[in-house]
C-alpha cells in the first residue's frame, strides 16, 4: 500500500511518452499521467483508495527495462522514461480485457450499467472488439436479498474496490473475498446473504465505486445505473486529516 505523502520529499524529473515532467518522488506514474491528461487505462485503481495492482491494465514500459510495470504501484524516479502506449501494451491490455470478458457473463446489452460501465468503456478505448478465448459460461447466483442493493457476481471483475472502500472509508469491512484464482468471489460478512449482513450500514459506497454492473441499486432497469464517486476524494481527505 502506498503511504500518504510524507513531508520533505524530493522532486524528480522524468519523461512520459517523450514529454518532460517533474513530480514529487512519492507520486505514482498513474497519478502523474492522469493529472496531465494521459489516460492510462485501469480498472482496480481508484483515487482515494489504497493501491491494489491487480488488474494489470495500467502496465507501462520503462525504457531500458524488459519488464512491464503497473503504473498504479510504481513511483516515478529521476530520469525515468515511461511509455504508456505501444503495440505491445495495447496487445496486452486487449488480452487482459478479453480474459475478463470470457471469465464471467458480461452481457452489456441487458445490463443496468450499460453505457456507464468502466469495463465497457475500456473495451472501447482499447479497441477490443471480439474475444479470442472461449467463454467460461459459468453461471453465478445473483444476491438480491438486500433492500437497497444487489450483487450480480456474473458481472464482477474482482477489482476489490468494494472491499477497500468498505474497509478504508466506511470502516465497516462488510465486503471481503472467498476462494482462489478464477473462483474468487466477493462476499458479505462471512459469506452470508447481503440482506442478512449485520455489519453493512447500507451506505452504498461499494455500489458507487464498483466499475461494472456487479453492484447496483435495486429498482434500476437496463442502462439506468449511473454511479457517482464525487464523495470519494473528499471523504478520503477527511480520513487522512484525522
Amino acid at each position: 500500500m502506498i503511504q500518504t505523502p510524507t513531508p520533505n520529499v524530493r522532486v524528480v524529473t522524468f519523461k512520459i511518452d517523450d514529454r518532460d515532467f517533474s513530480a514529487r518522488e512519492d507520486e505514482t506514474i498513474i497519478q502523474v499521467a492522469w493529472e496531465n491528461g494521459i489516460r492510462v487505462p485501469s480498472l482496480c485503481y481508484l483515487e482515494g483508495l489504497s493501491v491494489w495492482g491487480a488488474c494489470r491494465l495500467c502496465v507501462v514500459e520503462i525504457v531500458g527495462s524488459p519488464r512491464l510495470v503497473s503504473s498504479c504501484s510504481t513511483r516515478v524516479a529521476e530520469g525515468m522514461e515511461i511509455r504508456t502506449d505501444s503495440e505491445r501494451l495495447q496487445a496486452y491490455r486487449r488480452m487482459i480485457l478479453e480474459l475478463l470478458f470470457s471469465e464471467r457473463n458480461h452481457v452489456c446489452s441487458v445490463c443496468v450499467s450499460n453505457g456507464h460501465c468502466e469495463l465497457q468503456n475500456l473495451a472501447q478505448q482499447c479497441g477490443m472488439d471480439h474475444v479470442r478465448v472461449p467463454y467460461r459460461n459459468k453461471v453465478y447466483q445473483v444476491d438480491s436479498s438486500h433492500d437497497l442493493f444487489r450483487v450480480d457476481h456474473n458481472r464482477c471483475v474482482l477489482c476489490s474496490r468494494c472491499i477497500r472502500v468498505c474497509d478504508e472509508i466506511e470502516g465497516a469491512h462488510t465486503w471481503d473475498s472467498k476462494g482462489r484464482g478464477i473462483d474468487t468471489q466477493v462476499i458479505t460478512d462471512l459469506n452470508r446473504p447481503w440482506g442478512e449482513s449485520d455489519s453493512c450500514t447500507g451506505c452504498g459506497k461499494c455500489v458507487q465505486v464498483c466499475p461494472t454492473g456487479a453492484l447496483v441499486q435495486q429498482g434500476t432497469s437496463v442502462g439506468e445505473m449511473h454511479k457517482d464517486r464525487k464523495f470519494l476524494p473528499y471523504l478520503s481527505r477527511m480520513r487522512d486529516a484525522q
Partner: protein
C-alpha cells in the same frame, strides 16, 4: 415407394425452417410437416436473473419485433410491482406498439410477400424479391420502404433506438415525451396514411386474380383468438381474450388475460422445437386456432377508426361465410391494420394526456407472479413470469404469436401441397406456393424457437408400411 420432399430453407421468412412432405404410394401428399430446428433456450437462461432485466433481455428474442417483447415483458413486470402505470405511459406504450405494427406489417407485405403477389408464384426466383418489385412497380417498392421507415422512425423517436429500445420499464416508461418529438411523429402520419390507403386500393383491385390461392392457401375452418377491448373492438395493447369458432360464434369472451392458462394448452411434438398451443377445452389437436391480423379482424366488432372501419367492412365481403377462413387473407388484414394503426396513433398523439411528466410508477416487487399479454404484429404474445422474494426469476413461459399459428401452418402446408404437388414432377411454382402459404402467417421463427430442453435433430423417412428407409441425424 413413398418419397419425402424436403424444402430447405424457406426463403423470405424470419429465421430458419424446414418442411418435409410425405408422399403415399400413389405419389400424393399424405402429410406435411413444418419443422423448426433452431434452438435458443431463452426461458432457461432468464432463470435467476433480476426481473427488471426481462424487458431488455426478452426483446433480444427477436430482431423483428423487439418492441412487442419489450412491451409485453414490461406489462408482466407491472404486474409484479402490482401497479397501475400512469396514463401517459400507457398511451405512449400504445403508440410504440402501433408503430411496430406498421413497420412489421409493411415489411411482411411489401418486402416479403409483394414479390409473389406482383410477379407471380411461377416467375423466375432470381427476380422474385423486393428488387424485382422495384423494376416491375417502383412506386410500390418505394411506398413499402417509406411506410416501414415511418413506423421505425416513430419507434426511434420514442425509444431512442430503432431496434431493442430500453424505453419501456417496469412501472411505465423511461422518458416523458417532448413537444418536438410529438410534433415530429404527428407530421409523419398523414403521409403514412396516404401510402396505406393507396396500397390498400391497389391490392383490393388485385384480389380477384388470387381466387385460386385464396381457395387453397390455408383455407380451412379453425377458431380465431385475439384480444378485444371493452367494446369488443380491435385492440393491440390490453383488453380481454375473445375466441370465435369457425362459424363465427363466440366461444370465449372477455377472458381476463390472467386466465389464459385455463383456455390455452401447449402440446409438444418431437419434430419441432416450436410448441403447439391449442384451445384447452377442445383438446389437442382439435383445439386448433389462428391468431394475428386475420384473427383480430375476424374477432372484433369494429376497428373504431373511420377508414379502417370501411376497409373492415370490405374485408368481410371477401368470403361469403364469416369469419374469413383463408389464410391468404392475412395479407389483406395486414393492410387494414396498417390503416388502423396510423389512424389510432394520430388520435393518441392528439391527446393532451400524453405530455404528462408522470410516466413511471415506482415500486418494488409486490407479487410473485406476473402475466403480460399484448398483440404483437403476428398475434397474441404472452409473457408469464414467477419470481422469488428477492425479485429473481424462478420460472418463465413465453407463448409467441408464431407458436399459436403452428398447428394452422402445418395444416396450411399440407393443404397447399395436396393441391399443387403431383408426385411425378416438382415444379418451382409448387415449391414457391408451399413457401408462400407459410409467409401468409408471416412466421417469425427466431422468436418461436425459444423453448428449452435439448433435442437432437433427427429426420426420419418412412415408407407407406412404416419402415425406416432413410434417416438423418444432426447435433
Amino acid at each position: 415407394m413413398s418419397r419425402t420432399i424436403a424444402i430447405e430453407p424457406v426463403t423470405r421468412i424470419e429465421g430458419h425452417a424446414r418442411i418435409t412432405l410425405q408422399l403415399n404410394d400413389e405419389g400424393r401428399v399424405d402429410d406435411a410437416r413444418f419443422h423448426l430446428t433452431q434452438f435458443r433456450g431463452f426461458e432457461k437462461f432468464c432463470e435467476g436473473r433480476p426481473y427488471r432485466e426481462m424487458p431488455a433481455l426478452t426483446a433480444r428474442t427477436c430482431g423483428i419485433c423487439p418492441v412487442s417483447h419489450l412491451l409485453t415483458s414490461a406489462k408482466a413486470c407491472d404486474e409484479l410491482l402490482s401497479v397501475k402505470i400512469p396514463p401517459a405511459a400507457e398511451k405512449l406504450r400504445r403508440v410504440m406498439n402501433l408503430a411496430q405494427l406498421v413497420q412489421s406489417h409493411a415489411l411482411s407485405f411489401f418486402h416479403l410477400s409483394s414479390p409473389d403477389l406482383l410477379l407471380g408464384w411461377d416467375s423466375d426466383p432470381a427476380r422474385r424479391n423486393i428488387f424485382g418489385v422495384m423494376t416491375e412497380n417502383p412506386a410500390m417498392a418505394k411506398d413499402g420502404i417509406r411506410l416501414r421507415q415511418i413506423g421505425q422512425s416513430i419507434i426511434e423517436m420514442l425509444g431512442g433506438k430503432k431496434v431493442h429500445p430500453n424505453w419501456a420499464v417496469p412501472g411505465g416508461i423511461a422518458q416523458p415525451l417532448s413537444e418536438e418529438t410529438r410534433d415530429a411523429m404527428r407530421k409523419l402520419l398523414p403521409e403514412g396514411l396516404v401510402i396505406a390507403k393507396r396500397t390498400y386500393a391497389f391490392y383490393k383491385k388485385l384480389i380477384p386474380q388470387f381466387a385460386k390461392e385464396a381457395e387453397t392457401f390455408g383455407n380451412f375452418p379453425t377458431m380465431f383468438l385475439s384480444l378485444v377491448n371493452a367494446k369488443g373492438n380491435l385492440e393491440h395493447y390490453d383488453g380481454w381474450i375473445r375466441i370465435k369458432d369457425a362459424k363465427g360464434d363466440i366461444v370465449e369472451d372477455m377472458v381476463p388475460t390472467d386466465e389464459y392458462p385455463r383456455i390455452i394448452g401447449e402440446a409438444v411434438e418431437p419434430f419441432s422445437y416450436m410448441k403447439f398451443p391449442y384451445y384447452k377445452p377442445h383438446g389437442y389437436p382439435r383445439g386448433i386456432y389462428r391468431v394475428g391480423p386475420l384473427a383480430r379482424l375476424n374477432n372484433c366488432n369494429s376497428c373504431g377508426t373511420p377508414f379502417a372501419d370501411v376497409a373492415l367492412a370490405e374485408f368481410r365481403t371477401l368470403q361469403e361465410s364469416q369469419p374469413v377462413a383463408s389464410s391468404f387473407h392475412y395479407h389483406y388484414a395486414r393492410l387494414v391494420e396498417i390503416i388502423y394503426a396510423l389512424e389510432s396513433m394520430d388520435r393518441l398523439l392528439r391527446d393532451p394526456d400524453i405530455m404528462a411528466t408522470r410516466i413511471r410508477a415506482r415500486a418494488r416487487s409486490n407479487r410473485d407472479e406476473g402475466i403480460g399479454i399484448a398483440e404483437a404484429p403476428r398475434g397474441l404474445l404472452i409473457h408469464h413470469y414467477r419470481i422469488d422474494d428477492d425479485g429473481l426469476m424462478t420460472w418463465m413461459n413465453l407463448i409467441i404469436a408464431t407458436g399459436h399459428n403452428n398447428l394452422a401452418m402445418n395444416q396450411g402446408v399440407k393443404q397447399v401441397a395436396q393441391e399443387y404437388v403431383d408426385g411425378s414432377k416438382l415444379q418451382e411454382g409448387m415449391l414457391n406456393r408451399v413457401e408462400a402459404v407459410i409467409r401468409c402467417f408471416d412466421p417469425c421463427l427466431s422468436c418461436a424457437s425459444h423453448a428449452f430442453g435439448q433435442m437432437p435433430i433427427h429426420v426420419e423417412l418412412r415408407n407407406a408400411e412404416g419402415h425406416l428407409v432413410d434417416q438423418l441425424k444432426r447435433g
